[in-house]
């Protein structure tokens, strides 16, 4: 029987925060064989692939009001899976973002220009986070060419896309 540590990211997300580092911190505290029970205001799909790469299987259950309870259970044989919206499997040690950009009300392609400009100023391994209106599909290849990693997903109402970019080490 696996026992689970509870992590509730609903208040953080409601306050407009970025819960990723908190989840990763909780993950570091897990004893071998322990799992993670996550409460989120939306189905955290991008996280599934990240967790799969870390050797956790997930089972998601819808709660009332569109909220979700997700159980991440350590798999005996971790199945490698490619993440749909991220470029690297290793997210464990991402630091807090040093830059936060709100690009939601900028004309395209200004958000992309700003993110790339800010990314150029990051030190090795540092991260930035950005809020956007859309999935920045044209930005991803540019980030990839420059060796950056990223993680992104939509907020529960689908109106804001949260992107975290990490400079190469």
């Amino acid at each position: 029987m696996t026992d689970y540590i509870d992590v509730d990211v609903r208040p953080i997300l409601r306050a407009g925060g970025e819960p990723f580092s908190l989840i990763m911190a909780a993950l570091d505290r897990l004893e071998p064989g322990q799992g993670l029970r996550l409460y989120a205001p939306f189905k955290p799909v991008p996280l599934f692939a990240v967790m799969a790469d870390k050797g956790f299987a997930h089972s998601a259950q819808a709660l009332d009001a569109g909220e979700w309870e997700v159980l991440f259970t350590p798999a005996v044989t971790a199945t490698k899976q490619s993440a749909p919206a991220c470029s690297t499997p290793d997210f464990g040690d991402w630091p807090e973002p040093v830059v936060r950009l709100d690009n939601r009300d900028l004309d395209p392609p200004e958000p992309m220009v700003r993110i790339l400009a800010a990314a150029e100023k990051l030190g090795p391994g540092e991260t930035l986070s950005a809020l956007l209106r859309r999935e920045p599909v044209f930005l991803f290849p540019q980030l990839e060419k420059r060796g950056y990693h990223w993680l992104g997903g939509f907020s529960p109402d689908g109106a804001t896309y949260e992107l975290t970019v990490r400079a190469p080490l």
């Binding site: 009300d105 395209p108 400009a117 044209f138």
Partner: protein, 435 residues
């Protein structure tokens, strides 16, 4: 870019034919010369441009790479060769070339091959995440298959192969071929793509899935009724009137629902100042509405059959061609900007996308084009063939101006010299885009 260049070349061919007075309205609607003109416009210009746009756009819609990048160029080759063969076959039918009727089936086979590659490539890509606009593309591709199937059957029948069934379908199936092509493939796909492009350029929230699926359902139903009902009606020899009336009502409903969605996008926009591509797209929406209205008036006055040419002309050149030209203007600018400045962005000062274009100058050409199209529609309704040629000449002038603007964009001619090539940026090739 190769698709766009090829498409524009065919559009010039079509306009030259119209100015020269080849095909409708100088000739009968079903004459071989008209067939030449119609297929130059629908395959050479609209379909090729649409395929080129979809190869760029479907990966963006579904946020996945194209199933196979390498198929795009062979597909263009097959389409071009197939169209050329088909046209030569039509010219043979009309006695302008030796009657090598085997050219028609050959053209059909080549076109089936070319469109087949496109359908499989785009279909497999869109299938990965069939949400919102991607579903319009899937229905459009299905309609394309129906269109091509009809067309291939006609081509083989002209060459004398499939016997009596082919003859029956050739005599009454032409409207179904046209509806599947213009309505299903070109119009529904253009609608789907416009949803995303408009909300992107105007910073407007996407249309709710529920609303756009209603529009799509009405459109898909209209095409399905026309095609499937049409085949059944031909089978039963019961005449197409009932089926076509139902399809027409559904088609009008689709246009109305689309109009409702567009108003939603426009009123929800964050960006007050509209760019040229959006302002010109509005003129194409107006043309779609006008075409719908014209259709209704013609049906009510019992003159639809006599003026189907005017109706089709307005739909093809006002709505579809206008929208494609307006969006092409923006897409070329954006892709050129991304190609040239993407690699140096954030490292050196780069121009904005808007610095690549000169909207004030370009809008003049667009206005000339649209006015010419509307004038041309009126001359068709009034039956003035020589005035129509003047309108076609005016359209050619407008188009030449637009193409010149697009080439200037591609050559970065309007970018201030000091900004044009920051360190590491290199000039884009006119016809080939580097990935």
């Amino acid at each position: 870019m190769s698709y766009f260049a090829m498409a524009l070349a065919w559009l010039f061919v079509a306009l030259a034919l119209m100015v020269a007075g080849l095909g409708f309205p100088a000739a009968h609607l079903a004459s071989p010369d008209t067939l030449v003109l119609v297929h130059v416009v629908c395959i050479g210009w609209l379909s090729v441009a649409m395929c080129g746009a979809l190869f760029q756009f479907v990966p963006v819609l579904v946020a996945k790479p194209l199933f196979s990048e390498r198929w795009a160029l062979p597909a263009l080759g097959l389409l071009t060769a197939g169209l050329a063969s088909l046209l030569a076959g039509f010219l043979g039918l009309g006695g302008r070339l030796p009657a090598w009727l085997w050219l028609l089936p050959l053209g059909a086979v080549l076109l089936v091959g070319g469109f087949g590659l496109v359908v499989v490539d785009l279909g497999l890509t869109a299938w990965l995440r069939p949400v919102g606009p991607a579903r319009f593309v899937l229905v459009g591709l299905a309609s394309l298959c129906a269109t091509v199937a009809f067309g291939a059957m006609f081509a083989f029948t002209h060459a004398g192969w499939p016997g009596s069934i082919g003859e029956t379908i050739l005599t009454s199936g032409v409207p179904l071929h046209a509806i599947a092509g213009l309505g299903g493939w070109l119009t529904l796909t253009a609608m789907g793509v416009s949803y995303r492009l408009l909300s992107m350029f105007m910073l407007s929230p996407d249309v709710e899935d529920r609303k756009s699926s209603m529009t799509l359902a009405a459109g898909a139903l209209a095409v399905a009724v026309a095609v499937i009902g049409g085949i059944v009606a031909i089978w039963l020899v019961s005449g197409l009137n009932v089926v076509l009336s139902i399809a027409a009502v559904l088609g009008l409903a689709t246009a109305a629902l689309y109009g409702r969605d567009l108003i939603g996008i426009f009123s929800g926009r964050k960006r007050r100042q509209l760019e040229l591509n959006t302002r010109m797209a509005v003129l194409s929406f107006a043309s779609l509405a006008a075409a719908g209205l014209l259709g209704v008036v013609l049906v009510l006055t019992g003159a639809f059959a006599a003026h189907v040419g005017a109706f089709t002309f307005l739909a093809v050149f006002g709505w579809l061609s206008g929208l494609v030209l307006a969006k092409l203007y923006k897409i070329v600018a954006f892709l050129t900007w991304l190609e040239t400045y993407g690699p140096v962005m954030g490292r050196a000062p780069t121009p904005r996308v808007q610095d690549l274009v000169a909207e004030a100058r370009a809008s003049k050409w667009f206005v000339i084009y649209y006015v010419a199209v509307w004038f041309g529609t009126l001359t068709l309704v009034a039956g003035q063939a020589s005035l129509f040629r003047a309108a076609a000449a005016m359209m050619t002038v407008g188009l030449a101006g637009i193409v010149r603007e697009v080439i200037r964009t591609r050559r970065l001619a309007d970018v201030a010299r000091s900004l044009r090539f920051p360190d590491g940026a290199c000039a884009p090739h006119l016809l080939f885009a580097r990935a």
